[in-house]
Symmetry: C2
Subunit: 342 residues, 2 copies
């Protein structure tokens, strides 16, 4: 297998190099053909590599910079003032073809803004979207986008997200004509706000997309459709609410099951199964969302990812590079968008 | 106790009189001081009252109409063309002081539009909000609004919702200075869309409201705050997503627990506890949302409510009348809004 190189923004995220560097070393063990560019403060990175054997060390390049993007920094400010930040330099590595993909646990808004400027969007795409794959009742993977990269979206942007989501699902799952729906407050045509209603109009007139109409919040995880589209505000709140309710349920189960010795015992015996389900639903453990619509691969890790979770984000990047995802998406997207615009 | 009268839109909802009339009879048994105006088609209602004893029958008035609002009817159309509908006549009963409150399981958008026109909003309130009380981890009730009556809201409307939610919580729970938050995609000041950021500005300058800043989706059910404000699009999807994820978890628990005889047995023994938790989280069983900000009480039942669920919505209306909710909200709201506007 030919080697592949990832650029890691090791300073990004709540924990910085203390999580990202050990996760990077694990990734080197896991993928023998992997090379890494660790972008960040050399003085913080080098000590963390002290136990790294020579064979691993030879597959690591450090790109030194002391500048980094804060988690609460305004995207516009980061874009203007942080041209030497670890995030920006990691993205530049992809642009310069030094790396095949970039992984960052940093500020989502800044990552989105910088990705757009550094890597540029694919033809026909105005804004990249943050997308993740979620579990459903019937084990069909569900692609939900946007997850927070774009808090306000007009109908055209929602339409582009639908096309990108459909193509991503097709490319990754090898499923032809994935079912696409718009998240809305009701299933009737008259429901929703202007953006959603207009996006529905556009999708109804696009035979290349297998548009299924509106889907409501209670149907997201039923596996009824393969791709669900919404703006980043809704997507973010939907994903985090799912996490919150999962926690509440487990908490209530534990509380509700404290009533007697027998019930307590039963609950204890079932705890691993309950935890497994929670883990499956928890974005912390279901880590790695992709910024799609760009001329390069950018994977966003959860900001507070631990070592195992960050490793998952790296693995997602490896998979996307191996599958040549952006080239495939680009080809498919171009053919659909050209078709639509012609 | 003095008698109280409710007007029921018996034609509203997915099941109409077959659910609403039996639920009404149960309510008469439950509340000896209750009188009911059943608004709808006499020919459908009367047969359903055949087993109703004379003492109950004497507490029922039928207001006959054959017109009703369809569940998928556009609110503007319902408002213009359905002036003799059961929904409208039930609201008129409240306006004419024949009834103390109205209950409907009909079309939310139409109910909201008609309520506003027939009952009018309180001074300082531009739009009524649909609000419900949800369970949290620490058993503190949580008021979430808007739940779908207003799909698009500017900052002023969100601000009014925050004031109304705070007052409602204060009046119902007797808690002074309830904690109010805006639902957003992050807790940092720079996060969110324009509407939410501007509403935050307004709330920060309103000492009468105990504003706590932004809250994220994963914190909704933690009990961290008492009132959460968002537009109706977000609120609807948040509530329905919660329902969906609860169903998925229970499904996955059941599936995950099918692996062996022993685990299956355990799961079966725990099923009632799991079901109880699910019921608590399920809007179908947690029935009755209030339209607040009006000069009268309007309770919205879930469209597909069964008899027990519809009875809960009636009970909520009884509670609100007994506590003289609109008068109390009006007084408190006026004092805050006048204070703010002066």
């Amino acid at each position: 297998m030919t080697s592949l190189t990832l650029a890691l923004d090791v300073m990004g995220g709540d924990h910085g190099p203390h999580v990202t560097v050990p996760a990077a070393m694990q990734a080197l063990r896991l993928y023998p053909h992997l090379k890494l560019i660790l972008v960040g403060d050399e003085n913080q990175i080098t000590p963390l590599l002290s136990e790294c054997g020579a064979s691993y060390r030879s597959r690591i390049t450090i790109k030194h910079t002391e500048e980094c993007v804060a988690m609460d920094e305004r995207p516009a400010v980061a874009l203007r003032c942080k041209k030497q930040s670890s995030m920006r330099l990691a993205l530049e590595s992809v642009k310069e073809a030094e790396a095949d993909a970039c992984v960052s646990a940093g500020n989502t808004g800044a990552l989105m803004a910088m990705s757009k400027v550094v890597l540029k969007t694919l033809p026909g795409v105005d804004r990249p979207a943050l997308v993740t794959c979620l579990p459903t009742v019937n084990h069909q993977p569900l692609y939900l986008l946007d997850l927070g990269a774009n808090v306000s979206c007009d109908a055209d942007i929602l339409f582009q997200f639908a096309v990108m989501g459909s193509v991503l699902c097709e490319v990754v799952t090898k499923q032809s004509h994935p079912k696409v729906a718009l998240l809305n407050v009701g299933s009737e045509e008259c429901k929703g706000n202007d953006q959603v209603q207009q996006a529905a109009q556009l999708l109804q007139h696009t035979p290349q997309i297998n548009y299924q109409g509106y889907i409501e919040g209670n149907e997201i995880y039923t596996g009824k459709v393969d791709v669900i589209v919404c703006d980043g505000f809704i997507g973010n709140i939907t994903l985090k609410t799912s996490e919150g309710i999962a926690r509440l349920l487990v908490h209530q189960l534990k509380q509700g099951l404290k009533q007697g010795f027998f019930v307590r015992l039963l609950a204890k015996l079932l705890a691993p199964s309950i935890s497994r389900v929670l883990r499956q639903m928890n974005p912390d453990h279901y880590n790695g969302a992709s910024l799609i619509g760009l001329r390069g691969i950018v994977v966003k890790s959860h900001g507070n990812a631990d070592e195992a979770a960050y490793l998952q984000a790296i693995s997602l990047a490896v998979t996307e590079v191996t599958r040549r995802l952006p080239e495939q998406i680009k080809l498919r997207l171009e053919s659909i968008l050209l078709d639509i615009n012609s």
